[in-house]
């Protein structure tokens, strides 16, 4: 071998087409730390490099006749030596120039590790993110569930448990609103001699009568308004958008229905006081006037409708 090539600061080796080594220069012998030329390229490659070499180098050199900058590792008793190898096919032989890249390799390994760490961090972030999204979805579902439950609870607090009608709390909450919304009439309703039913037939019988009355009221009022139970045998029908005549007409309709209903135990009647919002009324005033009218109905013999003046 040419003296200058032998001493050149780059590894140089020649292989035949079976990858058997024909010659190598001094630098190459230094890289793999041998005195004599090894037989086969496999003898000086690390195990991993052999696999890589067979998988990628041989197909490439066969198809292209040249391979550039292939990163490989050579065996050396002091630890494997990373190199970049350029190979060219000439006259049926493979000539290789081999550059040691130990320092660059350290840097590249660091880069590779940093890249991997970054990938892991980003993977962890993505996982955490999807976990958060999952939790958020769960929270939202729970929230919706709570809203439904809350709605139901609220419904319960404004509902009379026995009759299912609205209760006093509902009236207190919503009547002021309804008053400002427009004309409003109240029918204050009380069952005549109801105490006698409880005394004679027991409270269970009384409850049945109250429930039936609630049904009769709702049917009689229909879409004109709604009925509520204030407590005991006292009910209110709230009618919207009605003048005095219309309100009294419905009150009379209610009274008659109750009178003619097929009651269990014994027939009952109701007394009604009607007050129609006059534009200046407070809620208390409207209720008071209805109460006074009801009182008048009672005093005048019950089972009748009185319209407040």
């Amino acid at each position: 071998m040419d003296v200058q090539l032998d001493l050149a600061p780059v590894g140089y080796l020649v292989m035949d087409e079976n990858m058997k080594i024909l010659e190598m220069n001094g630098m190459m012998r230094d890289i793999v730390a041998v005195e004599t030329v090894p037989v086969h390229i496999h003898d000086i490659l690390t195990i991993a490099s052999r696999v890589y070499f067979q998988t990628y180098f041989i197909p490439a050199i066969i198809t292209h006749g040249t391979v550039s900058e292939m990163y490989l590792k050579f065996k050396n008793p002091a630890g494997s030596v990373p190199v970049l190898m350029n190979t060219k096919k000439r006259n049926g032989l493979f000539e290789c120039a081999i550059m040691q890249v130990s320092i660059r390799n350290e840097y590249e390994t660091e880069l590779l590790n940093a890249k991997r760490e970054a990938e892991e961090v980003s993977k962890a972030t993505a996982e955490a993110n999807s976990q958060l999204k999952l939790l958020l979805g769960e929270v939202e579902a729970k929230q919706a569930e709570l809203n439904v439950l809350n709605g139901r609870l609220k419904e319960l607090t404004v509902t009379d448990a026995l009759t299912g009608l609205k209760n006093r709390r509902y009236l207190e909450e919503f009547l002021p609103e309804l008053m400002t919304a427009g004309s409003l009439s109240l029918l204050m309703i009380d069952i005549d001699f109801f105490k006698g039913i409880n005394d004679t037939y027991g409270h269970h019988a009384g409850d049945i009568m109250l429930k039936q009355l609630a049904a009769v009221l709702e049917e009689a009022i229909g879409t004109a308004g709604f009925a509520a139970r204030l407590g005991g045998e006292e009910f209110v029908a709230v009618l919207t958008a009605m003048d005095v005549a219309e309100a009294s007409e419905i009150a009379e309709e209610v009274r008659q229905r109750v009178e003619h209903h097929a009651w269990p135990y014994r027939p009952i009647t109701i007394s009604i006081g009607v007050s129609v919002h006059n534009g200046n009324d407070t809620l208390a005033g409207l209720l008071n006037r209805a109460d006074a009218a009801l009182y008048e109905s009672k005093n005048n013999g019950r089972n009748r409708v009185t319209v407040a003046t």
């Binding site: 195990i47 052999r50 890589y52 067979q54 990628y56 197909p59 066969i62 040249t66 990163y71 590249e108």
Partner: protein
């Protein structure tokens, strides 16, 4: 339903009564069979395909769940067989594909009449029980790193299409396509699955007549491993080739084709 023919880029050529399927190994795709199959198209129907994640396969069908073990690749092979709607096949597998074929034939022995394994290894790692697969875990890690570092170099030098290959330009074009189309992440995972696999226990279950082809100086699946496979597969035949290295179907297509043909046509028995 998934279109397997499209998903696995299945290619059919040749004509004949029998159908041969060629399975490519890790690190490449079906183009590696280009030269070998030319010897078969006159007398056989020839099928080549890409495993999902390799070559021109539908890479969107890749998932680590399915392809995290060789059984995912085995499923690919079985699905290709079913999609071809033939009663039975001859199968030639290179490297890890020979083990994939072995797993497939164990599951559906009815589908395979004969199998050829080129450079098989059922397990690449050395084991404390004395089994010498040839590799330590650290070697595998080094290989995976090497693939990663080199991938960019490859891409760089393949980009300008100026490779001198005057006598066989079609090969250069093919090889470029092949390397560039392998997703580095999937290639890495395929390598990991390949080199971490252990299918030694499945060898003795083989019932399909099998030929094992070994080469000289195979650094990936050394001669001793091939002989081990031969002793484990009942009634298997062994062919020791003159070809060198792990890729005789590329480096010595003529000898490779001749040995396969000899066996498949029955003259080798």
């Amino acid at each position: 339903m998934t279109n397997i023919i499209k998903r696995n880029n299945v290619k059919k050529t040749g004509s004949g009564k029998e159908t041969i399927i060629f399975g490519h190994g890790f690190g490449c795709d079906q183009l590696v069979w280009k030269e070998v199959i030319e010897a078969f198209t006159k007398d056989y129907q020839v099928v080549t395909f890409d495993y999902v994640g390799c070559g021109q396969s539908d890479k969107s069908a890749y998932s680590l769940e399915r392809y995290g073990t060789l059984h995912g690749y085995k499923q690919d092979l079985l699905e290709v067989c079913e999609a071809l709607e033939e009663e039975s096949f001859l199968y030639v597998g290179h490297s890890v594909s020979s083990m994939i074929g072995m797993l497939a034939s164990n599951e559906r022995p009815d589908l395979f009449k004969k199998m050829v394994m080129i450079g098989p290894s059922p397990h690449y790692l050395n084991e404390p029980d004395g089994y010498q697969g040839g590799f330590e875990r650290s070697d595998i890690n080094e290989l995976l790193d090497m693939m990663e570092v080199n991938y960019k170099e490859w891409a760089k030098y393949l980009a300008p299409v100026v490779m001198s290959n005057e006598d066989r330009p079609e090969l250069a074009a093919n090889f470029e396509k092949l390397l560039c189309s392998n997703d580095p992440k999937i290639a890495r995972q395929f390598a990991e699955v390949t080199f971490m696999s252990d299918v030694r226990a499945d060898l003795e279950k083989v019932t399909v007549p099998t030929l094992i082809m070994l080469t000289q100086d195979d650094a990936i699946a050394p001669m001793e491993i091939g002989r081990y496979v031969h002793t484990q597969i009942p009634g298997s035949r062994l062919a020791v080739m003159e070809a060198l290295g792990h890729n005789p179907h590329i480096s010595d297509a003529a000898e490779t084709a001749a040995v396969i043909k000899d066996y498949l046509s029955g003259q080798g028995e």
